[in-house]
């Protein structure tokens, strides 16, 4: 099995576009592939395919519940909480859990010597499993609206990956913080999608910096070639980063995407180019993974 993450620092450069089209190309070649949408805040990839929802699992986090009959307001739980999620005013016998700040680490329960803390699960989001022919093919991480962090849902989605699959495509959330790291960390190879604009380049540099720090293999696809300027090419040459593919800016591609269609269904050149790109990655990085 090989896991390939499709990521980008900047939003809207075409991650989902690339991930869905690669997945389409792999399915047409009868690979046992799986698409995992890790952009839990704005999950969009599954909508491009005809699918049936086959399983929903709730992702929860534990938050403390304080039993005020046993609590002596000693403040030990607040001392243990590294997220300032417990508010306490001992003289007035006020103690309150601020659930939005709680990370569910359980430190307060360990701190309490009076059995005054129990825990209850709260929902953070869902991991949805979809298929289009019986076999699970798509996993979607979907965060509830109002929840602070998508990370636990992303982790759970990745845990749901079927071991039978040969190729896993992970559609990453934008940015370079925790949600991005959680997605690229389990990947064997990362495709960074950028656009030839100053904003695109600046965000690409940040993503490259972090992938180098965590020692990941990666390459770049430049999307919307024809707009912007050439600076990104200079940067790739300078840093010796492989340029995997250039996708031209075409209004037809944008239009197909806008109505939720896979561009490769119409654009056979794009389909072939994306397939060749992935095939090269598998040849180079897939085998080393198997030996591990």
């Amino acid at each position: 099995m090989i896991k390939i993450a499709v990521a980008s620092g900047k939003g809207g450069t075409g991650k989902t576009f690339v991930a869905t089209n690669i997945f389409y190309a792999l399915m047409r070649k009868n690979f046992r592939a799986m698409l995992v949408d890790c952009d839990a805040e704005a999950p969009n990839s599954i909508a491009f395919f005809q699918t049936k929802l086959i399983k929903v699992s709730e992702v929860t986090q534990l938050v403390p519940v304080i039993n005020i009959d046993s609590c002596i307001y000693c403040g030990k739980c607040r001392e243990y909480c590294n997220y300032n999620a417990i508010f306490i005013l001992p003289p007035m016998k006020i103690i309150q859990v601020i659930e939005d700040l709680c990370h569910g680490c359980g430190a307060c329960s360990v701190a309490c010597k009076y059995d005054a803390i129990t825990e209850k699960p709260v929902s953070l989001g869902k991991v949805n499993l979809y298929s289009n022919n019986g076999e699970p093919l798509f996993i979607e991480a979907r965060m509830n609206i109002g929840v602070m962090s998508p990370v636990p849902i992303i982790k759970e989605a990745i845990k749901n990956i079927n071991n039978q699959a040969e190729i896993i495509i992970l559609d990453s959330p934008p940015g370079t913080s925790c949600p991005f790291i959680q997605t690229v960390e389990p990947a064997d190879y990362i495709i960074l999608v950028t656009e030839p604009t100053p904003f695109g380049l600046s965000d690409l540099k940040q993503s490259v910096e972090i992938l180098k720090t965590i020692n990941k293999s990666f390459g770049v696809i430049i999307n919307r070639v024809g707009i912007g300027n050439m600076e990104v090419y200079d940067y790739l040459t300078q840093e010796n980063i492989p340029l995997l593919l250039e996708i031209p800016f075409k209004k037809e591609i944008a239009e197909l995407y806008s109505v939720g269609k896979i561009a490769s269904e119409k654009d056979f050149i794009l389909e072939k180019q994306l397939f060749d790109t992935v095939e090269n990655i598998i040849l180079q990085y897939g085998s080393s993974y198997n030996k591990r």
């Binding site: 809207g12 609206i145 806008s258």
Partner: protein, 299 residues
């Protein structure tokens, strides 16, 4: 004698979008260069970009500690494994007969450090993130830079906003423009909490529409006045009009179309806002009108 004081209040406008790449930053840059001097705060601390256009002077730099991470002191660790069972983030494991903490999985809760019988686990603060403040050609600018891979971006956004408010007050600037991050999570919530107006930028795609629905639901929880800009509307007229109809049903103050114009990218390449590139373009005039309505429309 009674001293009369003028209460100073600046209006905060947040520009956000569920989906990334819809044009938030280009639109923020346009609003920031339309007329009066403003405070421009880049709240996309994960991928701050506006400084590229405006090259602000660096007048103040502050360290922001995002949290802590646990590190093992192998001189003291006896590999007893007590910490493993306490960690709820699957960050601690046995590898090569040694306890190992994954820096990526560690959430910084400190529980392992507290329960370690040998006191072999230390917490080290993440102090690579920064907040910068300075001047740009049409006012003041504040931006945060979250060190790659770090969390707590919501808290950093709060600090950027506090700084922006303080600067607005000392310089008598009436408008604060917040360029927000994509998504609907913590940093977005921090960007919109307590602002006066929210501008959501979307695009006429199925994904853009879906993300708009999610972010409107979030913003509605905060009971804020919402304006929607359907950017690049001419890329798909039918989806654009579906979005507009939906907005009107949702009781949104304004839903306006903005055309696709390659000059927006040309402006970015020349390190200018679209207004600075050419204030007479159709898109520039439209932005001028939209900003006028946003600024002046009462709830």
């Amino acid at each position: 004698m009674i001293q009369l004081k003028i209460l100073f209040y600046s209006m905060e406008v947040a520009i956000i979008s569920g989906k990334g790449g819809t044009g938030k930053s280009s639109i923020s840059a346009a609003f920031a260069t339309l007329n009066d001097e403003v405070v421009l705060a880049d709240c996309d601390v994960d991928a701050a970009n506006l400084y590229l256009l405006f090259n602000p002077s660096n007048e103040e730099e502050r360290i922001f500690v995002t949290g802590e991470k646990a590190f093992i002191d192998y001189n003291l660790c006896t590999n007893c494994g007590v910490c493993i069972n306490y960690c709820r983030f699957d960050a601690i494991s046995f590898k090569n007969r040694r306890i190992l903490i994954s820096e990526i999985a560690c959430d910084g809760c400190k529980l392992c450090s507290r329960v370690c019988p040998e006191n072999a686990i230390n917490m080290i603060p993440n102090d690579k993130s920064r907040v910068y403040a300075g001047s740009f050609r049409n006012g003041k600018m504040v931006y945060g830079r979250l060190a790659p891979g770090e969390e707590n971006s919501g808290k950093l956004v709060n600090i950027v906003r506090e700084k922006a408010k303080q600067i607005a007050k000392t310089n008598g600037l009436e408008t604060i423009i917040l360029d927000g991050p994509p998504g609907i999570g913590c940093p977005v919530i921090s960007t919109i909490t307590g602002v006066d107006k929210v501008v959501i930028v979307t695009e006429p795609t199925i994904s853009g529409f879906h993300d708009l629905e999610r972010i409107v639901e979030l913003v509605k929880k905060f009971n804020l006045q919402i304006f929607v800009i359907i950017n690049k509307y001419d890329l798909n007229l039918s989806v654009a009009s579906q979005i507009k109809t939906w907005c009107l049903r949702k009781d949104i103050s304004l839903a306006e179309y903005l055309p696709f114009d390659e000059n927006v990218i040309n402006a970015m390449v020349q390190k200018k806002s679209i207004i600075e590139l050419n204030p007479e373009l159709e898109i520039s005039l439209k932005l001028n009108m939209i900003w006028y309505i946003i600024k002046n429309q009462k709830k």
